[in-house]
Subunit: 172 residues, 2 copies
């Protein structure tokens, strides 16, 4: 199960594998090109940085790494690249954390929900079609035309639950 494609495709970048960075970068490249846009060096490097990150990264964290790589060291450099990635479905903005994370499966359009672990700060992208549908119904009931949504859950991830359980056994 830990290695099945299903569990891979929604795992956070450093909770062992989702599709390897290379594959995602290639997908990103073609996706961007098909929209008549360019995955320039800063943008590509920004996506790489997000893909290598453990959890979500703040814009200034990204900026620091970009600067170390010889790109511009001013905030707009990071924000522009990050916004580009978000607008093109290659990354997501996590509002609760004022942070950004690489999209785990950029191949297709989708609405995503995020599971934010309070213990290890990991951010996991979860399938949210059902959630989106429920939200659509609620909106419709209010006469509200929904265009997009932010869905962010806070709690504890599987790994941290397991670790805590193990710790308790050790103590007892």
């Amino acid at each position: 199960m830990a290695d099945s494609p299903e569990s891979q495709s929604f795992c956070c970048p450093d909770h062992s594998g989702h599709a390897p960075a290379q594959a995602i970068l290639a997908q990103a490249e073609s996706r961007v090109k098909s929209h008549g846009l360019r995955l320039t060096p800063v943008r590509r490097r920004t996506l790489e940085i997000l893909l290598q990150a453990h959890g979500a990264l703040g814009a200034y964290d990204v900026l620091e790494q970009l600067a170390a790589d010889g790109f511009g060291a001013q905030p707009p450099v990071a924000y522009r690249a990050l916004n580009f990635l978000v607008e093109n479905g290659l990354a997501h903005r996590i509002r609760r954390l004022n942070a950004f994370t690489a999209c785990a499966h950029p191949g297709h359009d989708h609405r995503a929900a995020f599971l934010i672990c309070e213990t290890c700060e990991s951010v996991t992208e979860a399938p949210s079609d059902a959630v989106g549908a429920a939200l659509g119904v609620a909106a419709q009931d209010m006469g509200f035309a929904l265009s997009r949504a932010t869905i962010e859950a806070v709690g504890q991830c599987r790994d941290c639950i397991a670790r805590e359980t193990a710790d308790q056994r050790t103590i007892a």
Copy 2:
């Protein structure tokens, strides 16, 4: 329908009535007391300010009004009162807007979803039990223990849809 208790209880503060401010303030008072806490003047006034607001208010907007009323004029004054209200279920934080809004029905615990109108900037609290349930299922599938969630939808509210439709008729 426009006057039914149901439609009232989920309307935004200035899209005509939800329960009047007085009633909500009274509810707030008793709710807070039952938790062994106090609805102090700043906190009470902060809640009033939110209740009178058209949409959600930024902390600095609230601060400005508090200062005008003779309360402290420094950010922590507003943030403390706002955080108190949020922690006690009397207000909600709208992360997408970096803003706060009074809870439309503080009488009972509930998970809320917010509908943010891009046209008039109103924020409406929608019942979200179904959305929460769907999110719970998605989380469970990932082995994630959900503790709370942010659900914020962006789109266009009923009033603005109606207004736009009317405008188009006028033009045509």
